[in-house]
């Protein structure tokens, strides 16, 4: 039986990093694949140990190395006994773990705390009003998807995320592919793919007034019948509190047809402007793993034809 390694995490550090990155518990929960309640418990040290797999996702979402989330054992209040007790009874409130003798010693500070607490709560509320109720960043995501693809062909998709002038934003981009398409590679790379191979995700950042490009390659299943329309959907999850989940606009569908994806006007040629468009839209084609040799060959020739029997493209000679 396999045993998942667990790690002791520093809840305070997680909360501080989350607040520093201005991301919500919901955002972290979605990225890691747990509930917001679990995130809350991690932050409040009610679950001091977590699976290493989740810790790695958490570190990635908070954009820090894993080491930064690990609790330092030499701190005064982090005794091993406390950690063990909390591990065995995760729902137990952490205050009940304090030794009784400490309670009497802390009676005066407790009173002080009772006085300061409402003040802190008031200040926190005001800070929330001023900091997080600031105008949220508006992000727009637009997908470039070829109008048509060949059955069995590998083709590129680009999603460009553009931020307005307000603030930089941390985001998660989710893209759902039709069942006839499988994602292959991406630039930047995907973050962990789910059991559902047709759902892909990225975490990224967009500077104020900036843009970020997410490109990937997909392959259409060879037995997809011509004329079939394939739908792509996607949405953004914005880290900043109060953000919505805008859908990815732009092309939503592609049709399976007997034309190369780069032959936009379906004239069985790849003309000068079509090949220039490919380079313009995918300047990072090498990083993406997109092979443009065939497109260049067709462009340099008189045209091409799709051989439905051999399922290959044949370029005509000049």
């Amino acid at each position: 039986m396999e045993f998942d390694p667990t790690l002791n995490i520093d809840g305070d550090k997680i909360r501080k990093l989350r607040e520093k990155n201005k991301v919500t518990q919901l955002y972290l929960a979605t990225v890691v694949g747990v509930t917001t309640e679990t995130i809350s418990r991690w932050e409040n040290r009610r679950y001091p140990t977590i699976k290493k797999e989740n810790a790695l996702k958490l570190a990635e979402a908070l954009q820090v190395p894993l080491d930064e989330l690990i609790e330092k054992q030499d701190e005064d209040q982090a005794s091993p006994e406390t950690t063990d007790f909390e591990t065995s009874a995760p729902d137990q409130p952490s205050i009940s773990l304090r030794p009784e003798s400490n309670k009497s010693n802390r009676s005066s500070p407790a009173r002080l705390l009772m006085l300061i607490l409402p003040l802190c709560l008031g200040l926190a509320f005001l800070s929330w009003q001023f900091l997080f109720k600031a105008p949220s960043t508006n992000l727009t995501a637009i997908r470039y998807l070829p109008d048509h693809v060949l059955a069995g062909q590998i083709f590129p998709i680009l999603i460009e995320v553009v931020a307005d002038k307000s603030n930089p934003a941390t985001l998660m981009l989710r893209e759902s592919l039709p069942e006839q398409c499988l994602p292959l590679t991406a630039a930047p790379p995907f973050i962990g793919q789910n059991e559902d191979a047709h759902l892909i995700k990225w975490i990224g950042k967009v500077e104020a007034s900036g843009r970020n490009r997410f490109a990937y390659l997909a392959k259409v299943s060879e037995n997809t019948e011509p004329g079939r329309r394939l739908s792509f959907t996607g949405n953004l999850i914005i880290g900043r509190q109060g953000g919505d989940e805008p859908k990815v606009a732009g092309n939503q569908e592609t049709e399976v047809a007997a034309f190369h994806w780069a032959d936009k006007n379906r004239d069985n040629r790849i003309d000068d402007y079509e090949i220039l468009s490919v380079y313009e839209i995918f300047p990072n084609f090498r990083e993406l793993g997109l092979d443009l040799t065939e497109i260049e060959k067709i462009w340099a020739s008189r045209g091409y034809r799709w051989n439905s029997e051999t399922k290959t493209i044949e370029a005509s000679r000049k």
């Binding site: 402007y273 090949i275 220039l276 380079y279 462009w299 340099a300 000049k318």
Partner: protein, 154 residues
């Protein structure tokens, strides 16, 4: 009379200052976008010496991802050599093309050597590219000395 002249001169100075400010404003409004457009344009010239055609292409500070240079020769013209090698040549139409990828800002040269001299009046050349705004552009490469300069956008 002296006071009147002083006032007149004073008013004149204000008018001149206003005029200069207005001129400056107009020049900024009109010339600004033109300069910006120029910065995004690929340009070039070619020179014919005997049977050699030498292209000098200027790539702007914001270079496009790729540029296509097209040389139109009289149909059937035999080519002796090309540096860099051309991407395609159709002798029936006389179209020679270079696909230049990953170009960076600066000047690049293309040397085409023909098997024999051709009539300079019967050849022409173009540079095709996408500008920084994604629009398609064709730049007609003019022979030296310059006879014409056309920048077309579509």
């Amino acid at each position: 009379m002296g006071v009147i002249m002083k006032q007149y001169r004073g008013k004149n100075s204000v008018r001149w200052a206003s005029f200069l400010l207005l001129a400056l404003f107009i020049s900024q409004v009109i010339a600004g976008p033109i300069c910006l457009a120029e910065e995004r344009q690929v340009a070039g010239r070619y020179k014919v010496s005997g049977n050699t055609i030498l292209h000098t292409i200027t790539i702007p500070p914001q270079p496009p991802a790729a540029v296509i240079v097209v040389q139109y020769l009289p149909p059937g013209t035999p080519i002796a050599s090309a540096d860099p090698a051309y991407s395609s040549y159709d002798p029936t139409t006389g179209e020679v093309k270079w696909l230049l990828k990953g170009v960076s800002s600066g000047v690049l040269q293309i040397r085409l050597t023909l098997a024999h001299e051709v009539n300079k009046e019967k050849i022409r050349a173009e540079a095709l590219f996408k500008d920084a705004l994604g629009g398609s552009s064709t730049y007609t490469l003019s022979p030296q000395p310059m006879k014409r300069k056309t920048v077309e956008g579509c």
